[in-house]
């Protein structure tokens, strides 16, 4: 026995949630070529098919691109600090790809080891994630190479699996998911057939091993020549979480904020003295790949990547993690060793 929901019923549910004042973030058609996760104004804006993966990720729901962490008011030689509005209202992420949802439990580690980032945790607790299982993939997808798949449950509170006739099987994994869909589904004998997903493109194990001692390897210079040093990969990646802290305002006051940042920018590690440990793009690219496939696993036991392919799709020069990993794999094959 399974639970199913029709497309119409799902859209009605979206409008109901919106009417209750609950924000819903979901895939939305921005223009003819472009689907991205965006706050939905109504169920009309929701795109449930006709794309492989939205151009962005859902991490904005728990890790906004700009988040005020406190306001400051300057009064003479005194300063008053004001906490930002704290109540993070309940929100729903709807029709997230499984590779996007799987990023959230991975991110939990860094935001909670020792010091706890209460901003992240509050949003995380307030968010219900409903995934939409994939029925197809493209050449950039490699979720199956990092232990995930088209219906992976990591990070999902509930999942919609297309049945091919416009209805969806609904699987609820947590209380949040069950609560969200309570009374909205019907019982059925239909069960979704989950496709196999992309073929495993490479074996990440040997690469992770190689990366441990790869810091001084000249191969980084070769692999990364075309990188332009923008932040497109990091910002559209579901697991990238590096951030900047800035003060913005004037002499009377302003605020301090956490903003997305990218290790690919030259300014990322620039010291005030002008010294920059990662002055060359090759060094910055090395940091990116090592952070995802060597440093994060060493510290937290999981790779910092869900194989969604967004980096390659968004990269102006199609560099991306998959490309780099495959070049590394080819290098390992030809050289036989590190």
């Amino acid at each position: 026995m399974s639970e199913i929901i029709s497309r119409e019923a799902l859209l009605r549910a979206v409008d109901e949630w919106l009417k209750q004042g609950v924000p819903v973030l979901g895939p939305s058609r921005i223009n003819d070529a472009f689907v991205a996760y965006a706050p939905l104004a109504s169920s009309d804006a929701l795109a449930l098919d006709g794309y492989i993966h939205p151009r962005n990720s859902i991490k904005e729901a728990v890790f906004p691109k700009h988040e005020k962490i406190y306001a400051y008011h300057i009064k003479g030689s005194g300063v008053e600090l004001e906490d930002p509005e704290r109540s993070v209202a309940k929100q729903i992420v709807l029709a997230a790809r499984p590779c996007d949802a799987a990023a959230l439990p991975i991110l939990d580690h860094v935001f909670n080891w020792d010091f706890k980032d209460a901003f992240y945790n509050a949003r995380r607790a307030a968010t219900t994630v409903v995934t939409l299982a994939c029925t197809e993939h493209d050449a950039q997808c490699f979720c199956t190479s990092v232990g995930l798949g088209p219906a992976a449950e990591n990070g999902s509170d509930a999942m919609l699996l297309p049945l091919g006739d416009g209805t969806f099987e609904v699987r609820c994994f947590t209380d949040k998911g069950r609560e969200l869909f309570a009374g909205k589904t019907e019982s059925s004998g239909q069960a979704a057939k989950v496709p196999a997903g992309p073929p495993e493109r490479l074996d990440v194990g040997p690469i992770t091993e190689f990366l441990k001692d790869s810091f001084d390897n000249p191969i980084w210079n070769e692999l990364t020549l075309r990188c332009l040093g923008c932040g497109a990969c990091a910002y559209e990646c579901p697991t990238c979480h590096c951030f900047d802290i800035v003060d913005e305002g004037n002499a009377a006051g302003g605020y301090r904020a956490k903003n997305w940042d990218s290790c690919q920018f030259e300014m990322f590690t620039m010291h005030a003295s002008g010294h920059n440990p990662r002055a060359r793009q090759a060094q910055r690219q090395r940091q990116r790949v090592m952070h995802k496939f060597s440093i994060y696993p060493q510290k937290f036991g999981e790779v910092l990547c869900t194989g969604c392919g967004n980096c390659t799709r968004n990269c102006p020069v199609s560099l991306g993690i998959l490309n780099t990993l495959m070049d590394l794999a080819a290098h390992l094959d030809t050289t036989g060793a590190k």
Partner: protein
């Protein structure tokens, strides 16, 4: 109320002291006495110091952790935030987040002879350790300080060097680079590594703390090696660009080591295993 790890404590500036043409040190205390009562740190740790409207800078807390009524930091005027710090006065309010990072292994160092070697603006992170050791003088063996700067005008906390020399079995050697001396200079002239070598300091049962510009460290290590001090007994404090100070923003790491959490204090044995990403 949510605990906000990014929100600083408000501090009152008690004293600003200028050391050189571009170096000042600042004494601050918590505006909130309750917070002051709850606060403690281990010598060697650092903090993120805020100038509201400008930003935060990372500085070592350069006062001894035994001093309870204030903390100190020392900085060189280099960039946007430090230029703004240059303008602060007694009574002003700044922010402080901390203490962060690891600390000098003062307990491990008990019973040993200590050599402190510093160059230029690197004196402050050494100064706190020296005072801490002097404040429990009997726990440590002989103490030697070798401190040099480019010119006589670049020495920082110079008056305290005199005070240290008053303590029992404390030898203070100060030097300036050749050409940096004035006619009145009665102390050593020479680069720190050479002055260290010529000082012929006994090195049995000794640990060394070396902080300074990379070139000074590069030439000091062989001298310490010649003296018979193993890399595991030589320590330094790393500097790397930081923002959050709490191991999240992803920029201060050297390989898998986050300098803000597992450092900034490392032995050279540990440093030799780190990629040179600093």
């Amino acid at each position: 109320m949510m605990e906000n790890v990014y929100k600083p404590d408000l501090m009152e500036v008690i004293e600003v002291k200028q050391h050189t043409v571009d170096v000042k040190s600042v004494k601050i205390k918590f505006r909130d006495p309750e917070r002051a009562a709850r606060f403690s740190y281990e010598v060697g740790q650092f903090g993120m110091f805020s100038l509201f409207g400008m930003g935060e800078s990372t500085f070592n807390i350069c006062s001894s952790s035994n001093w309870k009524d204030h903390i100190e930091f020392c900085f060189r005027k280099t960039g946007r935030v430090t230029e703004a710090f240059w303008q602060i006065d007694e009574g002003d309010t700044i922010g402080f987040r901390g203490p962060y990072g690891n600390s000098y292994p003062m307990e491990e160092w008990e019973g040993k002879n200590l050599i402190f070697i510093g160059g230029g603006i690197a004196m402050p992170p050494i100064r706190c350790a020296v005072w801490y050791a002097l404040e429990s003088r009997e726990k440590y063996g002989n103490i030697t300080v070798v401190y040099g700067a480019r010119t006589t005008k670049d020495l920082v906390f110079e008056d305290e060097l005199d005070q240290w020399a008053e303590y029992k079995d404390v030898r203070v050697i100060r030097c300036v680079d050749p050409g940096g001396e004035t006619p009145e200079w009665t102390y050593e002239v020479g680069l720190v590594p050479n002055v260290l070598r010529d000082a012929q300091i006994p090195a049995d049962n000794t640990v060394a703390l070396v902080i300074g510009p990379p070139i000074m460290i590069k030439f000091t290590l062989p001298v310490l090696d010649q003296m018979g001090i193993a890399p595991a007994s030589i320590y330094s404090s790393l500097e790397n660009r930081m923002k959050c100070g709490v191991g999240k923003c992803g920029r201060c790491n050297c390989g898998p080591v986050y300098v803000c959490k597992e450092g900034p204090i490392f032995s050279f044995e540990q440093l030799s295993k780190l990629p040179s990403d600093f």
